[in-house]
């Protein structure tokens, strides 16, 4: 079974975020990055499937040079090789563009299964996986918690709202978006880290993928960031002062005339 896992690098969870002057994004220079949480679980799920059924796990990621660290971590944990679409200019918020690029890379690979995280910890749109499935013309299931491989198909358990689950069977190839926390993540071992040094990291260009700059330029996006801001405090607390009688009458006045509760 050939499994592609899409990994994204996102700012470390408790980062101190500083908003840029033009209010369209945060300053990235002083951020540290880590693999997106649910992507970790997608990778772990893929490695377990491979260990049980044989095959290979290929990491697919896009982004600047810094994502090499995420790739190496995935390779060290046991993925066989990686594809890194390296281009600063299309680190975009548009899941549609991201999915288009990822789809172009996946088409060259013909995998049996594609796993993505449910959503990313930065934009949190939970769209890339499902749009990607559409571009590839593949069936998909979202918020997956368990996968059982069967002859030519897979059975998955999906998480629904309020403690409900759903069991779905899909033909392969298929795409699944994986929920966080569904298994125990492994550590990269020292040996794994040293072995990862020799594993292949392919860096296809856009034209290798049959895409052009205009397909992926931020300008081609149908989404635009209007403004990013720190939520403003809107609730106000007012303290009454004076003796209890005074306070009580002020309170009654507020309740009657402002809150209009009686």
């Amino acid at each position: 079974m050939k499994i592609i896992v899409c990994l994204k690098q996102v700012p470390v969870k408790d980062s101190l975020l500083k908003i840029k002057d033009d209010e369209t994004w945060v300053h990235e220079d002083d951020l540290s990055y880590e693999i997106n949480e649910s992507d970790h679980y997608a990778l772990e799920t893929a490695l377990r499937l491979k260990e049980e059924h044989g095959g290979e796990v290929v990491i697919l990621t896009m982004g600047a040079d810094r994502v090499r660290e995420a790739i190496k971590q995935g390779l060290a944990k046991g993925a066989e090789r990686a594809i890194h679409i390296n281009n600063e200019s299309f680190t975009t918020i548009d899941s549609n563009i991201n999915a288009k690029i990822l789809a172009a890379a996946i088409k060259t690979e013909q995998p049996d299964l594609i796993l993505t995280g449910l959503q990313t910890d930065d934009y949190g749109s939970a769209q890339t996986g499902v749009i990607l499935a559409e571009y590839l013309g593949l069936p998909h299931a979202g918020i997956v918690m368990e996968i059982q491989k069967q002859e030519g198909s897979i059975k998955v358990k999906r998480e629904l709202e309020s403690g409900w689950f759903q069991s779905v069977e899909l033909p392969m190839p298929a795409l699944l978006t994986i929920q966080s926390g569904i298994n125990q993540l492994r550590y990269a071992t020292i040996k794994g880290i040293m072995m990862a040094k020799k594993k292949e990291i392919k860096q296809p260009t856009l034209s290798d993928l049959g895409l052009s700059e205009s397909d992926v330029a931020p300008g081609s996006s149908s989404l635009k960031f209007q403004k990013i801001y720190v939520p403003k405090k809107t609730k106000q607390t007012q303290f009454f002062e004076g003796d209890p009688k005074d306070i009580a009458s002020q309170l009654v006045d507020k309740l009657r005339n402002e809150a209009k509760v009686f």
Partner: protein, 389 residues
Amino acid sequence: MAAFKGTDFYQFENLLSDEERLIQKTVRDFVETEFLPLLRDSYRKGEFPAQIIPKLGELGLLGPNLSGYDCPGLNNLAYGLINQELERGDSGLRSFASVQGSLVMYPIYTFGSEEQKQKWLPKLAAGEAVGCFGLTEPDFGSNPSGMRTRAEKTDGGWLLNGAKMWITNGSMADICVIWARTNEGVRGFLVERGRAGFETKTMHGKLSLRASDTAELLFENCELPEENLLPKTDGVKSALKCLSQARYGIAWGAIGAAMACFEEATEYSKGRIQFDGKPISSHQLVQEKLAYMLTEITKAQALVFQLARLKDSGVVTASQISLAKRNNVNHAIEIARLARQVLGANGILDDYHSMRHACNLESVLTYEGTHDIHTLILGYEITGTPAFS
């Protein structure tokens, strides 16, 4: 508390390769998620959390700078970073790994026969076996060449008599590297647990390094076959060669403990309000402490990064390692004590780390050559005159 980020004021991280960075990050995460949750309970009980041993092995943290025999063959920079991250958790954890790797696996690797290496190194690397190193005796600490433990040659083997004290991992050990006087000078021997005439006694009542196993080893007419001699050992200098390995790791480890304390004190000082609604971090005397901590951590890092290069290029000297051990442990304990002060009364609770590190570092200051003995080693290096003999 926020996850530990490490202190890197001078961007030493830029000197690391992808692999070195990943190794550091992995060990940091491992200590945070697997070790620290076990620690408080272990420390209170005065025990090493032995359930961590197979995990250390699985990750490859035991003897990581040795090659072959299932060891990953890391360079000494990566090895140093591992020690730093382990000791950020607790000196007891780093001590376990130092003893296993530098004081048990290293001598078997360096002075052992091929059979000894094949038999023990893979098991020790995997954490399936635990080792200890017995040099110190009740009456001989700083001056191990005075040791009384004796191994007499017999037909086909050796007869071991004597006692070792303060032996880390001693009661847990499956295999002990024991240094004993023979007619041909001091030699190293392998003694397996369970041999007739060999007993261990756990040492209790420690106020330092509580999450570590420390024991006495007693040998009374303990018979050893010839194959238990480490054939290439040759005098106390062989034992000292092992200590150089471990001291190198300690120089790194102390920085980890210091970083944990510095980070804890910094964070605490920003949140603790005293006098006129101001955080204590705004008071000059607190800032002075934090500035001292950052300065000494940064200087200590500069020492070990260069020391790693010297060691990797095979030119490092024992006295260069002495300088780093002496300096880094000395400042680490000072940093831990100051951090404890910044935490006020809260600092004496085991909800916080600094006092535990300060207590642990009392042992680290003493073992592997006391602070003063390293002073004398440097004095000898500078003047050519030994003050200790």
